[in-house]
Amino acid sequence: MLLKLSKNFEPDAFEELLFVHNDPAKADRVWKGLQKKLDGKWMRMFYCTFLSEQPEAYVSLFEFTCYLFLNEKGAEQNYGNEHVLAIAQTARKVEREKHRMEAFIRFKHAADGMFYCGIDPDFNVIPLIMKHFKDRYADQKWLIYDLKRHYGIFYDLENVEEVYLTEEDQQRLNGLSKELVAEKEGMYADLWVNYFKSTNIVARKNMKLHTRHVPKRYWKYLTEKQGN
């Protein structure tokens, strides 16, 4: 049996088909059931795996849920079970992407005082990074926008709210042309690039290690990697 989202569905002549309707009340019941079986750490792993948006991950979540309800409490520790392991490993990938966003986001200071960054992470990690940025940057307005999933989070010095930009606004922010950028933005970006070069030890150059830590697909975010 295979569980698929309707957007990923391709008809297969030899399989029987069953359409599962979304029912928040039933979903809530399953979620509560899971909470009885799993501790906070595992609930988060479950949620992270969901945010991975991987078609295989949805199957693992379904199989894992069945497995949990069929077994005694504590069954989630069975790393010999393929679904348990798949969830642990997928959740880890999602947490890594979350951590990378916390590390690689580079805010640009806009002329109106807001700090902005556009991202397109491998997984849908915005719900996971929200708290980190809210706690840390409590005295500045900021906006983080997922350009791939077309939504973002905006902090107005009090609360964080979900925002949706028009295509036009997105492009404007992404380019952040000269007149939109704060006066000293260019100077600090330039100082940062200089710092990045000065703090490198040429005698120890190791590009393989460098790209392992900062894979090339993230370079577009990084102020210090522009102009390379």
Binding site: A75, Q77, N78, Y79, G80, N81, E82, L85, A88, H99, E102, A103, F104, I105, R106, F107, K108, H109, F115, C117, H132, D135, R136, Y137, A138, D139, Q140, K184, M187, Y188, A189, D190, L191, W192, N194, Y195, F196, K197, S198, T199, N200, I201, V202, A203, R204, K205, N206, M207, K208, L209, H210, R212, H213, V214, L222, T223, E224
Partner: protein
């Protein structure tokens, strides 16, 4: 104005880069005054330089003017280099502006000694106070303890810094005397001990009084330069082990010496820094801190140096084949940790998973065990029966043939044909 700041930043970041510590972990500071910044428990590496080292903090010297003439140091008095000094305001404004753009986790501030220790420490103190009190900055601050500074001043600095450190520089007293006759390990031990005692004292007080201020919440660290003087790995790691024990250090850093001087007491300019050796020392450090090894098991009179071609855990296992094979379905956690090819995460998963049935090879591989390495040292549910035991030299050659060292690849030069 920005041109001059850029010059200073280049000079003072360049001079600070030989201090390898860049950790921003262990802090507990929260942003509860609606200011800016907080500590992230595990720290965040915001980028990596082309040499593969992490950049987490803005690491700079306040000045590279120095009254000392330590042969291993690029800022030594007799070295003919460009000198510069930041003002307190400049450091604060760089830190704040980098932090607000999410470039860094905080500030690592060190300094050459100008005039005297107290004068230098006082300047450092002004920077951190301005950041904490005026800018309401709660990000990470790693501050150098200046040897010889007064205890009052060190005490005050500890109230604002998250981590403090002071470098041993050379692993042995004799090595230090050779290259920096004006210094001694005693100069380092005294302030390390003082800060350590204050941490303990305030922790005890906290049990009684709730409002005790934070004092160096991320603890202390130190650094040793490797390969400038002829110490053995055994001497280096025994020094490290005793400092971990005596001063509850969070980290000891090992910095492969990069030749920066024509001094004939030191390796020549152009000599390759000892990168593999440095890596092996860090592996040993990890085995001591997270794998339950005692330093004497890894390094002793019979084995004063670490193997270069294999890692210290494999090296220990090959010398102690009497403990193997380990049956991973029954062995204790601390023995599983000692198996080459199994790390902390895999070991923990094994302990949990085996409650549900005997583990097989394919499950171990999926859990993340490096099976091609571990297979010589373990038994599991479907391990094939083997007639003869291998010698340690045979196992070593099997593993070496099977793995590709990252260093060998770096060393072999591509042949140029045309």
């Amino acid at each position: 104005m920005s041109e001059r700041i850029r010059e200073k930043l280049n000079i003072l970041a360049d001079a600070a880069k030989y201090d390898v510590s860049c950790s921003s972990s262990g802090g507990t500071r929260k942003n509860d005054n609606k200011g800016i910044g907080n500590s992230h428990t595990s720290g965040i590496c915001h980028t990596y330089t082309e040499d593969g080292r992490c950049v987490s903090l803005l690491k700079i010297l306040l000045t590279n003017h120095c009254i000392f003439d330590c042969a291993f140091c690029v800022s030594r008095k007799s070295n003919d280099i460009e000198r510069a000094a930041f003002t307190v305001e400049e450091v604060v404004s760089l830190t704040m502006n980098f932090y607000r753009r999410n470039y860094i986790e905080g500030l690592f501030l060190s300094s050459g000694i100008f005039k005297n220790a107290d004068f230098t420490m006082e300047r450092l103190l002004r920077v951190v106070k301005k950041l904490r009190l005026e800018e309401r900055f709660n990000g990470y601050i790693h501050l150098k303890t200046i040897p010889g500074a007064s205890e009052d001043m060190i005490m005050e600095a500890g109230l604002y810094a998250d981590r403090m450190s002071i470098n041993l520089e050379m692993p042995t007293e004799s090595g230090l005397k050779l290259l920096a006759p004006e210094k001694s390990h005693g100069d380092v031990i005294k302030p390390l001990g003082f800060v350590q005692n204050q941490i303990i004292r305030l922790k005890d007080e906290k049990k009684l009084i709730k409002s005790v201020p934070k004092f160096v919440p991320a603890g202390q660290s130190t650094q040793m330069v490797i390969g400038a003087t002829p110490e053995t790995d055994k001497e280096i790691m025994q020094t490290a082990a005793s400092f971990y024990k005596d001063f509850s250090l969070k980290r000891v850093y090992y910095s492969g010496y990069i030749p920066i001087s024509n001094d004939n007491r030191l390796p020549m300019i152009g000599t390759q820094p000892p990168l593999i050796r440095e890596n092996r020392l860090y592996q040993t450090d990890w085995l001591m801190r997270f794998y339950g090894f005692h330093v004497n098991e890894l390094l002793n009179d019979a084995n004063p140096h670490l193997d270069i071609d294999i890692d210290p855990k494999l090296s220990w296992a090959l010398r102690n084949l009497q403990f193997f094979p380990v049956d991973i379905n029954v062995a204790a956690y601390k023995m599983i940790l000692r198996i080459p090819g199994i790390g902390v995460t895999s070991a923990q998963k094994i302990i949990q998973a085996r409650k549900f049935g005997k583990l097989r090879i394919d499950q171990l591989k999926k859990i993340g065990v490096a099976y091609n390495r571990a297979k010589f040292f373990i038994k599991c549910a479907d391990t094939p029966y083997q007639l003869k035991d291998y010698q340690n030299t045979q196992i070593k050659s099997f593993i070496l043939a099977d793995s590709q060292s990252k260093y060998i690849k770096n060393d072999v030069q591509q042949l140029v044909m045309f």
